[in-house]
Subunit: 255 residues, 4 copies
C-alpha cells in the first residue's frame, strides 16, 4: 500500500492554573492535529483559549479531548458512570471546546477520548455507544479518533460516525494490538531514533514490532505523540527528518 | 406606562452530583426564562442536560448562568481574575451550555452572570467589558441580563450587546438601587404575598419599596425568582394569581 | 446469645458549602457513634467542625469516614489508586478529623471507610491491607468498622487492628452477606417498621431475612443508619421504641 | 546586632497529581524549615507524604502551609470567608499535616499561611485573629510565621502565639515594608548573586534595599525561598556560600 501522507496528533492544553504541562509551543510547528484538553483531566479555560490560538496560528486541526472528571488522576483511572452521566459529560466537554473554537473563527473537526475513557471505549461496546451518541448529537460531521484495530471502529460505523484509526509513536504494543500499560517498564519508548523508526514502520509498512519483537499489523491514519515525553523536542525533529527523507508529507486526516 | 407583559426568570440546574438544590420541576411551569448553571458555582453535566430537557418541554427560554469557579462558595464570593482568565472562563461556560442546548435543537438566548460576578459587572466597568467581550465573541445576538439601573447597561450599549434590565421578586432593595446583602436580616422577602406585591409593583408601577420604605424606581424587563426560596411553591402561585388578576401575561423578553 | 447493648452509627457531616445533605441535628439524639465525612466524598471544614460540636453535645463517639476523592460521585465509584496514593489519602483524611476533634477536647475512636472504598476493602486483601496500614500508622488504638462477615476482619486481625462488625438497618442483604447494590430496586428498606424489625432481628437473633427471604447470620456490633433516608425521622424513633420494648440499651461499641 | 544564625524556609510539596511543581529534592539539602502545602492551594496526600519523608531524611523542621481553597489560582487570590469558614479551613489543613507528620514520628512546629491568606492576615486584624485562634486551638505551642514588621506580630502576641518574623530572599520590597506584587515587573529578583546579597544584608544588617533603592529595616528570624524560582538551584548554592564566607550557620528558628 502506497502511503501518501500522515497526520501527527498530540494532546495539548494540559496545563492547569500555575501548573504547566508539556511544551506545547515547541510541538505545534511539528503536528497537524491537536487534541485540546477540556478541563476534566487537565486544562482550564485560559489554557484552552491559548491552545486554540496557537492551533490557529499554526494551521493545526482541532479536536476535543474529553475525559472522566479526575484532575488528580489525570483522567487515567476508570470511573464507572451511568450512561446518562457519561453522555452528558462528553457533550459538555465537546461543547465547551467547540464554542470557544468557533468564537475564534475555527472549526472543531474531531473528538478523541482521553486516557481511561479512550481505552474503555476501545473495548466496551456500551460505553462506546454512549460516547458516540453524545458526539453525534453535538455534530454528526465530527470524526472520532480511536485505537487502530479496536472494535470501536465497527461501533462507530454502525452509528455513522467517521472513525479515524490511531497508532502511537512512543508506546510499546502488546501482541493483541493494545498498548502495554504505562505502569510496566518499557511501555514508553524513550530514544527519539526508536520512536521515529516506529513512525516510519507504521507509515510505510502499517506494522510495528510488539513487546515480543514480532510484527503486528497496525493500519493508522493518525499517529499520536505525547507532549510530556522527556525527549519530545528531539522526537518531533527525528520524526520530521525521517518522514522528509521518505518524502512523506504530514497532513491532517481528511484534509 | 402601559405594561404588556413580563418575563419571569429563575436560576435552575443548580444540583450537583448527589446534592439536590432548588425544586426545578415545580417551578418550570411558572417561568418564562431559565438561567442554567454552568458547573462553576453549581450544576454538573447531568443536571444541565436534565434542565435543558425540562426547559424544552415547558417552552422556556434558555440563558447561560456563568460564575466564578467556586463550588464551595456557590459563586457568591468575589475572585480577582486577570482579564484573560475572566474572558476565557465566561466563554467556556457559555459554550458548554450553548452546545448542549443546540444538540437538543434549542437555542441559547441570553447570558446572566451569577452571584458575585453579577454584582461585580454591575459596577466595575473593566470586568463588565471583559465579560461582555466574551459574550459577543461567542454570539453577538446573545442578550445579557443585568441589574436594572446599573451602569452595566451603558457598557453593554457601547459593546452593542442587547441589555435586559432585571429586578428581583424576593429581595429587599437599598435606596441606591442595589440589593441588601444576603447576610443582612430582612434581605430576603419571605411571605409569598409580599413577594407577589413587589412583582406587581415592579410590573405596574416600575417601582419597589426599599428598606427605608421609600419608593425606588426600577424599570425591569425580567423579574428573578430563586428556586431555593423556602416558600417558592407558594410564591410562584401567588405571583401567577396576582398577574392573572391584572391581565398581565408572562412572556419571555424579546419574544 | 444474650445481647447486652447495641451501637447505632450514622454517616454525618455530609453537607457541602450551600448544599445540605441529611438531617443530622434530628438524628444525633438517637445514635451512639457518628462517621464524620472528611471532605473527599462530601463534607467541608465548616460542616466537619459543626458535626464534631454536635457529637460532643450529644456525647456521641466519633469516627473518621474517609473516601475516594470523588465529590461528584459521592465516593460511590471505585477509583483505582496506587497503594501509595490510597495510603496517603486515608492518612490525610483521618488526620484532618482527628486533629479537629482533639482541638475540641474530643478523641477520635474509629475509622469507617465510605462507599466504594468500604466495599473494596471488604473483599480486596491488598487494598484492605493498605488502608489498615494507614490507620495503624496514625493511631494503633483506632478501631476500624467493616462489613460483618467479610474477610476484612481477618486482615484487620493480622494487622492487630481492632475490628468492629457492622450491619445495615435499611439495606437488603444478598445470600452471600453482601448488600444488594443501590441501583437495584428494593435495595433500600423504606418502611420504618421494616427497618426496626431488621434491627431487632440483628440484635436479638444475629440474623436478617435476605432478598430470597431466607435467614442469613449477621453478627454485628454496630448498626448503620443513613441520614438521607427519606423516612429517617420515623426510623430513628421506630428503632428506639423497638429497642426500648426489649430493654436493649444503645451504647457505643467498646464503651 | 550580632547575628548567630539564620533559618531558611521554603514552600514545599506543591506538586499535584501528575503536575510537578518546584524542585524540592534539590532544595531540601539547603533549607532548615519547610512549609508543607496542605492540598488547598497545591499539594495532595501523596506529595505531602513524600515531602514529610524528605523533611525527615534531611532533618528539616516542618510547618503547615494552609491556604484559601483555590487550586486554579494557587491560593494567590483573596477569598472572602465568614470567620467560621476561615477558622475551620485552617484547622482542617493544619490537622491533616500534623497527623501525617506525627504518624512518621515527626512533630509539626509551625504554621505559615500561604499566598493571599498570608498577606491578608498581615494587615487585617479580624482575619488574623480568626486564623490565630484556629492555630492555638490545634496546639498552643505552634509558632506562626508572618511578614516581618507587619501588625500581625502584635496580634499574635495578644493571642499568646509565638510569632516568627519572615523576610523574602527573592522579592523586592516596597518602602512600606510590603512586597511588590508579583504582577509588577521587577517584583522577583532573578540573579542568584542579587538574591544572596539580599540575604546577607538581611542577616548582617537587618535591612534591604527597597524598590526606591533606599534602605528599609527588616528584622527577620527566617528567610523564605521559592522552590519554583527559575534559578533556585543556583540561588541555594549562592546563599550557602555567602553565609559560609561570613560564618553564619543556618539553623531552624527556636532550635
Amino acid at each position: 500500500m502506497a502511503v501518501k501522507e500522515i497526520d501527527i496528533n498530540c494532546d495539548m492544553g494540559e496545563s492547569f492554573g500555575d501548573y504547566s504541562f508539556g511544551s506545547d509551543e515547541k510541538i505545534f510547528p511539528y503536528i497537524t492535529s491537536c487534541n485540546v484538553a477540556c478541563g476534566f483531566h487537565a486544562g482550564d479555560p485560559v489554557h484552552i483559549e491559548q491552545t486554540l490560538r496557537q492551533a490557529k496560528a499554526h494551521g493545526v486541526k482541532i479536536g476535543a479531548h474529553p475525559s472522566y472528571p479526575d484532575l488528580k488522576g489525570f483522567g487515567r483511572r476508570y470511573l464507572k458512570m451511568a450512561p446518562a452521566e457519561l453522555y452528558a459529560s462528553v457533550k459538555y466537554q465537546i461543547s465547551a471546546i467547540k464554542g470557544m473554537a468557533e468564537s475564534m473563527g475555527m472549526k472543531l473537526s474531531y473528538v478523541k477520548p482521553h486516557g481511561a475513557l479512550y481505552h474503555v471505549v476501545s473495548d466496551d461496546e456500551s460505553e462506546a455507544h454512549t460516547m458516540l451518541q453524545a458526539i453525534r448529537d453535538i455534530d454528526d460531521q465530527l470524526y472520532v479518533v480511536g485505537l487502530a484495530g479496536s472494535p470501536m471502529k465497527s461501533i462507530a460505523d454502525q452509528a455513522s460516525i467517521k472513525f479515524v484509526s490511531e497508532a502511537f509513536a512512543d508506546r510499546r504494543y502488546m501482541p493483541n494490538g493494545r498498548l502495554l500499560p504505562r505502569t510496566i517498564p518499557g511501555a514508553v519508548l524513550i530514544a527519539p531514533s526508536e520512536v521515529a523508526a516506529q513512525v516510519v514502520s507504521l507509515v510505510m509498512e502499517q506494522r510495528v514490532l510488539d513487546e515480543k519483537n514480532e510484527y503486528l499489523t497496525v493500519e493508522a491514519e493518525t499517529i499520536c505523540l505525547h507532549s510530556d515525553h522527556p525527549k519530545i523536542h528531539h522526537i518531533v525533529k527525528a520524526i520530521d527528518e525521517a518522514l522528509a527523507e521518505r518524502n512523506i508529507p504530514k497532513l491532517a486526516f481528511s484534509s
